[in-house]
Structures are given as C-alpha cells and as structure tokens.
Symmetry: C2
Subunit: 346 residues, 2 copies
C-alpha cells in the first residue's frame, strides 16, 4: 500500500502536527458544539449545563508494557487519564465509555482484572460506566476510553485564556511518573536477563505508583470552588510540563517565564533521576504522564491559593514578543522547548 506513491513519514509531523494537519479544515456545523478539537475536552450544549467529552486510546506496546503493568492498574489508569481531561476544563466528570480490543492470549480472568481497575476508578471518582464495545483483537490489548462530564458555562476553563501577568501554577509534583517508568524498564531488563532475580523496587512505591496508578486531580477542582478561584487557563500534564506550558502560551498567544527552581519535584523523583544520570528538571519538563493540573490565575487570586501545600507557583505569563523562557537555577534564560513524550517517537 502506498509503496509507489508519495509517502510522508508521520514522525516528521509529530502527534500535534498530525492533529493540526488533520483537523485544520473542520467547520463546526452543529449549534450544540461550543468547542470542538483543540482543548482537553470538547464542550457541547444540549440546552442545560454544558457537556464535556474527551477520548484517549491506550495501546499495548506504546502506552503500556504488560511485563510490568498489572491489568488492574491499567484499567484504573485508562479511566484516570480521561477524567483528568474533564477536570482540566474545570468540569465535573460523570460518565465514561470503554471500548476494548482483546487478543486471544487474555483469558476472562485477565479481562475481569482490567475491569476491576476500571470500576475502582469509577467508584472512587463517582463516575458511571455507561457503555462501550468489546472485540477480539489480533494484536494485543487496546483500550479506548471516552469521558463525559459537565460544567456551567461560566465555570469552564479553556487553554486560551491566559493573560499577561497571570501566574503559572501546577498541582502536586512532576517527573515522578517518568522516573518510575525508568525503574520499571530497568527491572524488566534485569528480569529478562535472569528471571531468578527479584525486581528491586523497594522504597520506590511513590514513583512506581505515579507511573502505574496516577490519580486525576478532582480535588484541585474542588479546591478552586472552595477558594472561589477560576483559573484563566488550564491543561493537564500528560506530555510533560514544557509541552503543556507551550500549549497554554500558544493557544493564549502569550509568552512566559518559567523558573526551574520553582518546579515541584519529589525527593524520591530527584534521587532516582540522579541514579539514572538524568536531570530531574528534564524529567519534570519532558517526562509526562504526571496528570497534574497546570493552570494560570490572576495575580489578585494569589492570596487565595498561596498557602496551599499542593500548589506550586512556577512562573508567569508575559507578552508574546518576550518569548517562552525557562530561567534556570543559575539564572540563565533558555527558550522553553517541548521534547515531551511523543506517541509517534518509537
């Protein structure tokens, strides 16, 4: 197929390039479509509260390795990844649909384990599983989840609302999921070389859980409500901090200064990154899969959030001509670049 024709390698575009390329000609036809492609979730209006929709697909060998991913964790994560997109709109997640493709290597017990994780996530986040599709697969496990939720129109936070002077903040800490992955990959190699050696993950529970069992930040949305703050822009951290900051800047048409020393990194993440000869800051900037919320707020809202331990202020929004900059610990200024986890880089 396509052997004798023009071939453009998809890798040259990257995931976001491909999405842009494929969606740039979309014209919205339905009155009920408030926001289509281009944010964490679509926004629909069926006459009451706005409906939010988001879809993610997880593929064996790309997004997960069953050598070290328990199926229950995988089901849990597949749901979390999608709920995270609804929260990133400042919405309430309410339903999910789950479509799975299963190769014949999976017995029913395996599927049950997967669904145990799905249901656990649904229960914990008060979300209903309302539909889906199951099929056999010739190629391994495929999980596609669609999350639905709602929000009042006035509460919805898009990616494009950041204004000059707004503060950039992030929940939790970053880089843990990526360093956890390095650890799991290392132990997998050790195991493949000598199956008698037990994996050495002792004391690393936190970053292993960050990778295998992320928690979408529903609590941060509640916190916004409780403290009367509406972020001016927001996105969830799935591809790495740098990539997400750049998304907010480009969709808001703004610049930014990001301060390396302010980026929240857990001590275990820091120490493990060092063990792997990785720069902990790079793990936070480019690692991805932390599923924290990155957002901007007006300076006047700073007082309301400044004492919250789980929120770090890491920079501020500038006019577009000032560029998008990372100020390092030594004070040098670099252009912020996204080298995030990219599903098209093999």
């Amino acid at each position: 197929m396509f052997e004798n024709e023009e071939r453009t390698n998809i890798e040259t575009l990257g995931e976001f390039g491909l999405i842009d390329h494929l969606t740039k000609l979309i014209e919205i036809k339905q009155k009920s479509t408030i926001k289509g492609v281009g944010d964490d979730a679509a926004v629909l209006d069926f006459g009451g509260k706005k409906t939010l929709v988001s879809t993610d697909i997880l593929l064996e060998g790309i997004h997960f390795d069953l050598a070290y991913t328990p199926l229950k964790h995988l089901g849990y994560k597949a749901v979390q990844v999608n709920l995270s997109d609804i929260y990133a709109m400042n919405g309430t997640a309410t339903q999910v649909t789950v479509a799975i493709g299963l190769s014949s290597k999976f017995p029913l017990e395996a599927v049950e384990e997967l669904y145990e994780g799905i249901y656990l996530a649904c229960d914990k986040y008060n979300v209903d599983l309302v539909g889906g599709d199951t099929s056999s697969s010739k190629q391994g496990l495929v999980i596609s989840v669609t999350a639905l939720g709602y929000a009042e129109e006035k509460d919805i936070v898009y990616r494009n609302g950041a204004e000059e002077g707004d503060l950039i903040a992030v929940s939790g800490d970053l880089g843990g999921a990526y360093t956890g992955l390095q650890l799991l990959e290392r132990e997998k190699l050790v195991y493949l070389e000598n199956p008698n050696i037990q994996p050495d993950l002792e004391g690393k529970d936190y970053i292993i859980e960050r990778q295998l069992k992320p928690e979408a930040r529903k609590d941060i949305i509640q916190l916004f409500k409780d403290s009367g703050v509406k972020p001016t822009s927001m996105i969830d951290v799935s591809d790495g901090l740098a990539s997400e900051v750049l998304h907010l800047c480009s969709q808001s048409n703004k610049g930014c200064n990001l301060y390396e020393e302010k980026i929240p990194i857990d001590p275990m993440t820091y120490e493990t990154a060092r063990q792997f000869n990785l720069d902990p800051t790079v793990c936070a900037l480019s690692g991805g899969e932390d599923y924290e919320l990155l957002f901007t707020i007006k300076q006047t809202d700073y007082e309301k959030l400044k004492n919250l331990l789980d929120i770090s202020f890491i920079g501020y929004i500038t006019e577009p001509s000032a560029g998008r900059n990372l100020v390092t610990k030594t004070g040098t200024v670099h252009e912020l670049k996204a080298q995030g986890w990219n599903a098209f880089k093999q």
Copy 2:
C-alpha cells in the same frame, strides 16, 4: 501471564456474554445517567435535552481487511457505524470523537485518506468531529469512534418497549453487507494466488457498497417524525437480524413470530448468496453489518407506514411463553437463534 492460573476462554462467553459478565454489577451513581450500558447508546441528562453517547471500536484483521478496504471507505464506515447507534435511539446525531492507533506502515497520505472518509461522513450527516486522540500502534490500524447526539426525553426509543401485538419492521434490505464480504474475500484469494488477475466485481456495486460503505438510516428517523410515529422499541442491525430481534424480545421480555418470506432481500444479494451456495435468508438473519433499523410499532400506527417502500413488516411481538419463532416459507416453525457475526469467533 495467567499460565498457571484459572483460564476461562472468552469465546465460551461470546461478546454479549462477556459484556453481561463485566457489567452486571454496575450501580449508577450519577443523577445525570438516565440509561447506562445495555442499549444502542447511553442516555444522559445535563439539564436540557437528553444526551446520547455510543462507542464502537474497529480493529484491523477483525473488523476490516486492508487488502480490499479503501481507507476512505473505512473512515466513512467507522463514523456510520456509530451514528447508526444514535439513530437507533430515535435521536439526532451531532458530534463524534475519533481515536486512532497507526502503525508505522501508514504514511501521512494514508491517514489523510482515512480522515477524508471520516469528514465525508460527518459532512453528509451534519455531524461535528469534536475531539479524539492519535497514537502510533505496534499492531496495525485501530479506530475507536464515540458518537454523541440528543433527543427529547419523550422521543427516545429503547430496546425494551415492545408490547404484545406490536408489529416488527425493518428498514431497507438485509444480507447485502455479508454477501458483499463473501465476494471481496473470494477476490482477495484469487488475487493472492495470481496477482495478475483483476478482481471481478462487475455489476456487484450495490452489495460491495453495503459492505464497504454503509449508510446509517438518519432518513428513517426523519420519516418517523414526519409520519408522527414513535416506535415502541428499536435497535440497529449490526450483528444480523436474528440477533437483533432476540435483543428486542429479551429486553422487552416478549416472544415473536418472524416470517421468512417477509424478510427484505435485494435480488443481487439473493443471486450472489446462491452463487456461494449460501441460503439468502441465513445471510439476512446472521450476516450482520447492514446497519438498517429494526423496530416495533403499535398496530394502530401501521396505516401511517404501510405504503413506505423502504420499510418491511416482517412479524409481530407475542407473549413471552409463545417463544421466539421463525416461520419459514414452507410454514414450519423454528426457534429463532442468533448465529450472528460474533467479534469473538475467529
């Protein structure tokens, strides 16, 4: 994995058995969830019109064979299959999300072709593509589509509303998609044996299109509106007429008499089935993928639809103890059995 543990082969359950097994313990938590798993689409209430959601996944080697499926047709079909579920609720389809996994064998031009078909379907059916996900895949092409739509609560038609005495009707004709598939499979084998022989599909456009490029029956929903008829139950024909009739009967807790001679079969379907030594009735009952609408109406509504060429009355609903029967052309009565296309039969 699971080698030394209990293994239950999923095939022993079948797709519907697996779904039942996995979803039987679901408890609905959200007020906005009106109807979850178990119909063509979920029904959600965010304060205005009801929101309808349905998801389907298409996997290379299971649902399509790229040896004879043009990518544009595949994109078109992936959308149609989902819109069909929204129409089967008597709803208006308004949005889709599309998640795809692509192996490296696909250049950008291939993805463009796929999306051309997706957009063509969206344009023709007045539906917005509002989101999705793209990823590389280690295993070939994966397409997961979620369709959204809406309906006034009073207009929604579920699978469980059929009453004794209701007439069973179906749109269009049946068995065409399955006989079209037989033709495509035969020509693929011929081609594999001798690549110099051109495929012989002349004069078979109709059934080839039934397989490769089905059309969801939006027009039938309009027709219900125009003629002031609300079906008592409805489902789309994706797995074969027998399977769908049994779904309506079991969810409505009723029996039925279905008349073989009334089942609408196109002459080309009939002739092609015969060429393959297949019983055309079996193709209609078990072939699947026709994406017609199967529905029941009150006898008092018969006058309003009886002159419509595109609707066939094929039987009626009985009390449950009368069983679910197929009355053959010779007048013998058989128990109706679903041997429909089953995604878990390899």
